[in-house]
Symmetry: C2
Subunit: 406 residues, 2 copies
């Protein structure tokens, strides 16, 4: 069974890696902090007897093949990069639970027929480099290694150069190891499980994601002398857009969400009308048609805004993923494993993006969720109870045992 103390101790140790200048936990992909996290996790993987490889996009893959079959492994995984001012659980839970599962099988003397693999994928969060889930997307063949390595970050860095700099630009072609199945344990990051008092989420699908960057160009002018009706204020246009997005998301059937997480004004001076605004838009919906309709409305809105506010608007696509349906067989196995352990379980939709959604292109895949206290994530206030973390890892252990045929 899962060594809870070791699993939770490692989670706590990894959580200490990567405080930024303001004391916030910020382990952006391919940063120095990410390197420190990777070094720690690689060490643990080796201690657990895994053969660790790094592929060209920096994905860490640990392999345990006790039967020497070399055939398609059962893969577990997630990521260890974080957002800015992040919590301790997002991503790390899945990687370290996967490690705990392999260690539990070894400790029990199990000799699985199929190999087991553990992945820590590069740049899942998408905060430094877009799109999110970049490492697993490349692994699954959805983006070329070359294009991915050339990605320019929010700080102007190039992903390939940063991976080389931190010593995690491997030589192996991503996706060489083709899994038999993929499983990912993750904190829910939303309010559903806690609100319903359910211990385990069997994730059967994952909503669509649309990321765009909008640049609005108006004209700088003097804040005191320029009449309101003669202004071409890029900041006002951006504000009207943010307000509309909130209305539009709230107006539907309550499933669409819209977020403007970044917004920058130029020249950014108190008495200068903003000449330019650059903002990001994150739209999501579990239904592909509804997501596309929201995007179409947004395009129309931007046209109208440009006309009415006398500004120009340009849009850059940062990420676009349709909703994903997970493998129903694995979802049923998760439900069965939870029930067999006396844990309450429900099927659910993932609101967040996950590496599992990319791996689902390659092999049967599904996810196990555990409750997030207060539904909080992407925040230092992110929490999951120890017992829930260990229960989730135990369910994953049972499903893996089931899938790899010991």
């Amino acid at each position: 069974s899962i060594d809870a103390a070791r699993f939770l101790g490692r989670l706590a140790a990894l959580a200490e890696i990567g405080r930024d200048g303001q004391g916030r936990r910020t382990r952006l992909a391919a940063s120095d902090a990410d390197r420190a996290g990777r070094d720690l996790v690689t060490g643990w993987m080796r201690e657990a007897g895994l053969d660790v490889r790094v592929d060209r996009i920096g994905n860490l893959i640990g392999l345990w093949d006790p039967s020497g079959t070399g055939s398609g492994p059962v893969m577990m995984g997630s990521h260890i990069d974080t957002v800015i001012d992040a919590g301790a659980y997002d991503g790390c839970t899945g990687v370290l639970a996967g490690l705990a599962v392999i260690e539990a099988l070894r400790a029990a003397g199990d000799v699985p027929t199929r190999p087991l693999a553990l992945a820590a994928f590069t740049n899942e969060e998408g905060v430094r480099y877009a799109p999110d889930m970049l490492g697993s997307l490349v692994y699954a063949g959805g983006l070329s290694v070359e294009a991915a390595l050339a990605t320019v970050g929010t700080d102007g860095t190039v992903l390939g150069e940063e991976l080389a700099r931190i010593g995690y630009a491997g030589s192996e072609a991503p996706g060489t190891l083709r899994p038999h199945a993929y499983l990912e344990l993750h904190v829910e990051q939303g309010p559903v499980l806690e609100r319903e008092g359910v211990a385990i989420g069997a994730v059967e699908d994952l909503q669509g994601i649309s990321w765009q960057e909008v640049t609005i160009e108006g004209a700088a002018n003097h804040a005191g002398t320029t009449p309101m009706d003669l202004r071409r204020d890029a900041g006002v246009a951006a504000a009207l857009l943010v307000a509309w997005l909130r209305e539009r998301a709230g107006a539907g059937n309550g499933r669409s969400v819209a977020t403007v997480g970044r917004l920058r004004l130029e020249p950014d001076a108190i008495n200068v009308i903003p000449a330019r605004a650059v903002l990001t838009i994150d739209l999501r919906d579990p239904d592909a048609g509804r997501l596309a309709a929201f995007e179409a409305d947004l395009r129309q809105r931007l046209d109208g805004l440009a006309r009415r506010e006398n500004v120009t608007v340009t849009v850059r696509r940062l990420a676009r993923f349709d909703p994903v349906t997970f493998d129903s067989g694995i979802v049923r196995r998760i439900e069965a494993a939870a029930r067999a352990r006396g844990l309450s379980v429900r099927r659910m939709t993932s609101g967040a993006g996950h590496d599992a959604q990319m791996m689902a292109r390659l092999c049967p895949a599904a996810m196990i969720f555990v409750p997030s206290i207060g539904g909080i994530s992407h925040s230092p206030a992110e929490r999951t109870a120890d017992a829930d973390l260990v229960a989730g890892a135990a369910v994953m252990l049972d499903v893996v045992r089931d899938l790899c045929g010991t």
Copy 2:
């Protein structure tokens, strides 16, 4: 008469000082660029035979006292600091026209009864350190030198330390030289003179200015998993505020203006609901009562916003100046001087803040405006025709001659 070639040549030379990393003209107060500008202007003042002093807040004061009376000088002045990505005329026009006026009097062999003084005041723009017109405010006794030197800038620097660093922290107490009268030539920075085809503005008053910094605290959470109705989105609250300010300013009788020039989100990540927004609000109105009413409405609005959006709002006052009425006698002299030169002239209100509004606390003061092409200022597109600049300087020469009794 005014040496147009020298005046315009210096304006062009000063305009080249202070390109920032992006090639923009950015000569923020007490920066390295400001030092270079000050060095240039100080050299020109000395060439013109002025006795140049620097006071404790860094104001440059050049004195010409040919009769050796030592009594209250007629002072001209303005500033040479700029906003970010600025034009070439704002402030520099007044300083260099003042220099040209003194040189014209010397060249003509005039020996004025009263001394003449020329000031280049510190930090008029208020972009790096608030409030704006800081140097002339201190000069006029409206703010203590100690408080002013302790001002923390938008970049975290302390004004006193920066003045010392660039070698412009003088030893003289500001305001020692008490002027008999103060005159400032400035580009209008707005559309009125050009629209009406008028050459000279005799500025009879200047609108009130209210600057506030608003901090909105919500809660970070995940952009994909957090339902719209459970969010505490500081960015949405900021956007609703910006939209309201525009409505409120436009709704009045068309005289109030409101600008949000700065807006910063934290943590500033694409898939994180903003936990915090910090923005500046610049409100202006020529009428004291209307400005106060706008401020009162804003306070109410912020309270409502905090309640409805479940955020906390704190406000920091950055600047507050009531409308100023200039000296009617000097205004009449400006009108008369313009007419005597065959120039069209109108009385007008200044939409921008100016050092003259602070000097009006000390002595009779007024301003001369010349047209801004397209009404543009606080922008690299700021322009005034050469002929208009020279006409404005000539009118100032006549009024100064009148005031200083040659």
